[in-house]
Symmetry: C2
């Protein structure tokens, strides 16, 4: 007998298909043998020495040995570009606007063969520092409404580039899905006087069934109504509506949490492809009481099929409590040993 | 310079990434050589002679040669099942209900090696007749709120079974995405006195840039703000909010339209994986003026990545007008020749 659970943050009812449920380790990536990649590739545009002339670079954390630790740069093939005029055309049912916006790439490490799960906490913190710096800068542009930071890891997750990298896209509209979730969060706030995310965090900490890692400032858990197997949320304990509000100390805590959770996936499910995104309130609504920024991690271990596309509902064939227990049990080896090459 | 277009039916802004746009034929399925499958497989549960004992069967169109033309049956591993009580439990932020509902499989043809694009119009009409019959029956169940008919074609679209089949899922809740789109359709109706879908159909027929096929009762087009490459909508010309309202004559017209459009994809893009779904109003709202049933076809020619998952917005790297022109130009061979085995 399956069960429906409502995800109050996305407002979706999710079918937890217990009758078709698989054991957590059955979601492991079976196609990939983790092969040693070279630490440097002559043909990789993100490797040290292959940087373009620097005109695209927007941020660099320097390092005395390799020249840089983390770099941000304008995407060479941007989906949105800052060189446009902000134009809107409306003709009957047809509404169009120019593709003004920002689309940057963050090269996360000089080495080609690493991934967040294998980095040190300090290295992950450097990536997060660049995220914050670019977020703070980009939100000053008057045509930007929403900033999304995201990572595509592996081909199923939409990337063909091996070199560790993530992206920032800043849009000239508030995405409809953001607006709808914000409406729900406002409604919850108006009804109860509480932030829905703070409430969720508190209840998950009390239940303890789905928490997979916690540090002083952050908590990672599988949602009660996870939309897909191993769907993970990371919340800051301190209420804050926008990622760029993160403090230096919190950056270290988030680096530890993000690295640990991604290592649980890496070792538990054999380096599955995944996406993560950092969701903040639209820039014009900074500082609200009703929205709480968070990171969503979506391992790409199952496929959306016609039911999901045709209804917007999800069928999840993993029991969130079992997935959480499984991830908590994963032993994470000392990553520095793995990096002797 | 990319362009944003708003899809008024889904309410999403879509980034039409013209700078990264690819020519239509570049979306063709390159991995698959169309190999002749056997017309019958001893190990296929849907092939003639391998039917289970019949206790799961809910509908059968008989045929004097093979015994049946199309069969519907309860899914052996259902996501939702009719044998449950309708129970809801609400405890703080946690809301749960029993997985009551219907989940059926429609075996579309006795032969293992065919697909909708290669069927005759009469054969496709038989499938649609079974859809209608099951829809009419299932909507009588008091615990059903929404009925979704869908098809997964190919592994990327979420199926591993080769034998041509589709599915019906009927849920005990209205999916949140349905509710939101209905709210927008109501708003449009209240503002203008018109059905948003009727208006879209009329404007697309006037513009003629994105229509790919039309018959007496149906029109197929690429949406102005298509969410992904070759995203297709099929609308009935007659306003009607629910698929089961389709007449016998319209079933023939829809069969012709669906078959033709799927054949355009089959021959134009080398049998791409795809999903389709038939979207009707929730059963309790049958007969409304504001909603119009339709079929959405989504070829799985690109992947959703972190930006899409993290914002709900889409980046489409195909220009809808070019995709439509390409599909219109595809010559469809006489399918009966292809079936001489």
């Amino acid at each position: 007998m399956s069960e429906l659970r409502q995800n109050l943050i996305t407002r979706d009812w999710v079918i937890i298909a217990t009758e078709r449920a698989k054991r957590p380790d059955k979601f492991a990536n079976t196609k990939k043998t983790i092969v040693a990649m070279p630490p440097h590739r002559a043909d990789c545009p993100f490797c040290v020495g292959n940087e373009e002339d620097g005109t695209l670079e927007t941020c660099r954390l320097t390092d005395e040995h390799t020249g840089w630790k983390v770099r941000a740069m304008a995407n060479k093939y941007p989906a949105l570009s800052p060189t446009a005029e902000r134009l809107r055309i409306s003709s009957g049912i047809y509404r169009t606007m120019s593709g003004i916006g920002i689309h940057e790439v963050i090269v996360e490490h000089p080495r080609h063969d690493l991934t967040t799960a294998l980095l040190t906490v300090e290295e992950v913190a450097s990536i997060l520092l660049v995220y914050r710096q670019r977020y703070l800068e980009i939100r000053k542009y008057p045509y930007i409404e929403t900033i999304v930071i995201f990572k595509n890891h592996g081909p199923t997750a939409g990337t063909s580039l091996e070199h560790p990298h993530s992206q920032i896209a800043a849009t000239p509209v508030v995405p409809n899905q953001f607006r709808r979730r914000i409406d729900e969060a406002i409604r919850y706030f108006d009804d109860t006087g509480e932030c829905l995310f703070c409430r969720t965090l508190e209840d998950e900490l009390a239940a303890r069934e789905r928490v997979i890692f916690e540090s002083k400032d952050f908590v990672a858990c599988i949602p009660f109504a996870a939309l897909s197997p191993f769907h993970i949320w990371i919340f800051p304990r301190r209420h804050s509506s926008s990622f760029d509000d993160i403090t230096d100390e919190e950056i270290i805590g988030l680096a530890d949490t993000l690295k640990t959770v991604l290592a649980q996936l890496y070792y538990g499910l054999n380096d599955p492809d995944y996406n993560y995104s950092i969701r903040s309130v639209p820039t014009a609504e900074q500082g609200t009481k009703y929205f709480h920024w968070y990171i969503a991690i979506i391992p790409r271990v199952t496929k959306q099929a016609g039911f999901e596309l045709g209804s917007g509902m999800f069928i999840n064939s993993a029991l969130p409590e079992e997935s959480a227990e499984f991830l908590r049990s994963i032993k994470i080896p000392d990553d520095l040993n793995l990096r002797q090459t």
